[in-house]
Symmetry: C2
Subunit: 221 residues, 2 copies
DNA sequence: TATTCATTGTTAATTAAATAACAATACAAA
DNA sequence: TTTGTATTGTTATTTAATTAACAATGAATA
């Protein structure tokens, strides 16, 4: 990859990166259904956004469709993949093989060629040494060693809240490059590590809030 | 609630709503640790945002702290609660009691007074009729009936992708007010229903992307 | 008592994101 | 062949979100 292409990557808005992932996801399903081409307004409709937004994002990544025929799904999937996927397979570890950890493994498993969940960690003796959803589960004590050995670059934290800080520290110490934290406890990591945090309860509370607001609006009418 | 207060609610930026939920979450933990007051820069540090952002959000909801003493944690928790919580308890159903559904129930259970997960639905005969994580699990066939009977206003979808569309339609038909969709299949719902969608894979791909970019930057240096 | 300082609250400025506007074009229909 | 139309690609505009700037203030300190 030359430096011009690199600069395109770095200049892509964060929101566009998210949407590229969503575009690809939707396109893959369309492809499976036998479609070969798709219009911007079709993509937009699937993802609840505007056609302009779609076209603008595709412009940013330098993809051109065909007038009146739309975008070639296969081509677009491939282009998005060269942009958001790493060149080599990126190895991922999940720390915390409870319900959420297993849900994640089963969902991600086999879906993306360039993302491989290669290890799970837990402190439950019943799980250590077993294979959960096709991936081996190790003791937390072996976390640092396995991360180095298996060249794991991304760590997903799905442990109970009280363990979060400790696990994050261990991941950082082991040289992880990116962390996805699903616990309600925000973590602090050095600047060179990319951190993404998501709390399901915040999403639920957001829904509850807007439901409440719409109900109050109804009442006052 | 008078119409002036209503207007404040409606004018709050979407991002502020999300942060209010995060503020409260962080404040509750601080409160449990025995703290009584907190500075804007402390909240900011916990949530990886700026102190100005915190102060601005609190200004928007009309809360004033004490100079050099910070914000009263208890007061702030209460105020945020009056803003984002509904007056009456809001009932929630989870459709799909697999790993993700159970993770959600266990996580949300007992955490928020105004949010109650009161029913789970699944099509697995082994689960139907049982109690999973303290909530009863019903057959999908009874979904519509139960939603009306139990006055359920929010539905969380955590089923396999292929069932998503059908479940969403059932929820809409049953008169649900808000939907939180955790499946990778976006759903279409009428305008009066608030919809929030989240795909864990997109978060993971985002982390992978930024890890990749930072690595390429390193290489080129 | 006067001065310094840390902190809040608020307006102004900036940046990021989304939307609107519209030219270009190729296909279809007349 | 001409006209109309649907669609792309791109620039301009608007809106939303964040950040900067700074006045106000009251506690701590000299």
């Amino acid at each position: 990859m030359n430096s011009q292409e690199e600069n395109i990557l770095k200049s892509l808005p964060h929101k566009t990166i998210e949407r590229l992932s969503q575009y690809r996801r939707a396109l893959l399903f369309c492809f499976d259904e036998g479609k070969t081409h798709i219009f911007s307004h079709e993509i937009a409709r699937i993802l609840h956004i505007t056609p302009v937004q779609v076209r603008r994002d595709l412009m940013l990544i330098g993809y051109s469709g065909t007038l009146r025929k739309g975008y070639n799904i296969q081509e677009l999937i491939d282009l998005i993949s060269t942009i958001i996927d790493s060149h080599e397979v990126m190895n991922v570890a999940i720390v915390g093989m409870g319900d959420l950890g297993r849900a994640l493994v089963n969902y991600v498993k086999g879906k993306r060629h360039k993302l491989a969940i290669v290890a799970g960690f837990d402190n439950n003796p019943d799980k250590i040494g077993t294979v959960v959803a096709d991936i081996p589960c190790y003791s937390i004590e072996r976390l640092s060693k396995m991360i180095r050995e298996k060249n794991i670059q991304i760590g997903i934290i799905s442990v109970p809240r009280s363990y979060t800080t400790d696990i994050a520290a261990k991941l950082v110490e082991a040289g992880i490059k990116g962390i996805l934290n699903f616990t309600p406890k925000p973590v602090n990591v050095p600047d060179h590590i990319y951190l993404e945090e998501y709390d399901m309860l915040t999403s639920l509370e957001k829904v509850a809030f807007y439901v409440k607001v719409s109900q109050e609006k109804e009442k006052s009418e």
